[in-house]
Symmetry: C2
Subunit: 213 residues, 2 copies
């Protein structure tokens, strides 16, 4: 990869912003990185509930050959995976990326574009079955690398994925400096982030609200 490289972050209405911003604040700090926020049209996309707006600076047509593609998830990822304009763009740019990546249900968009065909991949726990329907082999790991295709599990896992990718791109010392810069020395107040050990009623509480547009 060149010393200077482009990262295209796909934005859409109904994005879970942490899926994009965790990796943004890691990969965007790798020396030479140029982040481009890409979407169907320029201007704001909104989160579910409309309370946060992120700006699309480049249309899909503007960005044809990013070195890295990052597809975040959220309730808006499900309709994005059924949007031919988005899916065709992902299919096209994937041909020449150095890395094609997703966080959370962003994997559904990659899967719809055929990127995950026959590959192991991960996504948010609520979407593991859907991934299988698309022809991928779901694996319950936080980050799954298959050649140049890297998928991360739910939301916050994008930070772990991006640090690992930063090391692949620029070496461990740079990745560690970025980790120090974002003071990523996590102390979750509860041990409640793992789907495998979550009580069924909690899973149901989360599941019933997550994919609503």
């Amino acid at each position: 990869m060149n010393k200077d490289f482009d990262i295209a972050i796909l934005l859409f209405d109904g994005i879970t912003p942490l899926d994009a911003i965790g990796p943004f604040d890691v990969l965007g700090k790798v020396p030479g990185a140029h982040v481009k926020c890409v979407g169907k049209k320029t201007g704001l996309v909104r989160t579910k509930g409309l309370s946060l707006g992120l700006n699309v600076d480049y249309t899909l047509a503007d960005v044809t050959a990013p070195d890295i593609l990052l597809v975040p998830g959220g309730p808006g990822a499900d309709p994005s995976a059924e949007d031919p304009e988005i899916v065709d763009w992902v299919k096209s740019v994937h041909q020449t990326t150095t890395w094609t990546t997703s966080v959370c249900t962003g994997a559904l968009v990659l899967a719809a574009a055929g990127v995950l065909n026959g590959l192991e991949a991960t996504t948010h726990w609520r979407a593991m079955e859907t991934l299988k329907d698309f022809g991928a082999t779901p694996v319950r790991k936080r980050v799954v690398k298959q050649g140049k295709v890297v998928t991360a599990a739910g939301v916050s896992s994008g930070i772990d994925m991006a640090l690992s990718l930063a090391a692949d791109i620029a070496g461990e010392e740079i990745a560690k400096a970025i980790q120090l810069g974002i003071e990523y020395d996590p102390e979750p107040p509860f041990d409640a982030g793992d789907f495998e050990t979550a009580p069924p009623e909690r899973v149901e509480l989360v599941r019933s609200t997550l994919a609503r547009p």
Copy 2:
């Protein structure tokens, strides 16, 4: 606090977006939460390097009595702490908040508004000394609660702070469901997020780039 409550997130040019978005994707999911993105004027604020735009939906004058104030950090926090319009607004809304919070160098803005006078507080490691100059007692902890004032350390610590606050607001079960929803079961690929154990050359590498506007 009411069943319905307002969270004001202060946005400014030079924000580190993860400081705001980590807590956004946690606190914004507490039942009854209404997030308002507030700034000096409506429209986009930009990150350092200009590659990401977040939208300000409300001016400072529009939001006079949020239940929760969240001040994120970043290179733009330093000038914000010297901006009388912002500092006066923070001073004013703090009078009636239920919680006044900061992430990373957002603490400098709280400190400039006198909110941290005589209190223990934390911030990003690069700004601990500055915090002392402002009359606060810097404490090297990930999250520091002093009555209704809650400060978090650098960038990613806002997620831990917000989960703890979600439990205070809505109970542990809700906080745990949110943690499961964002699949926050961190697996940093390196053990490099702690300032105390970082080699001096790495600290210097990070320090030399962090506060540049």
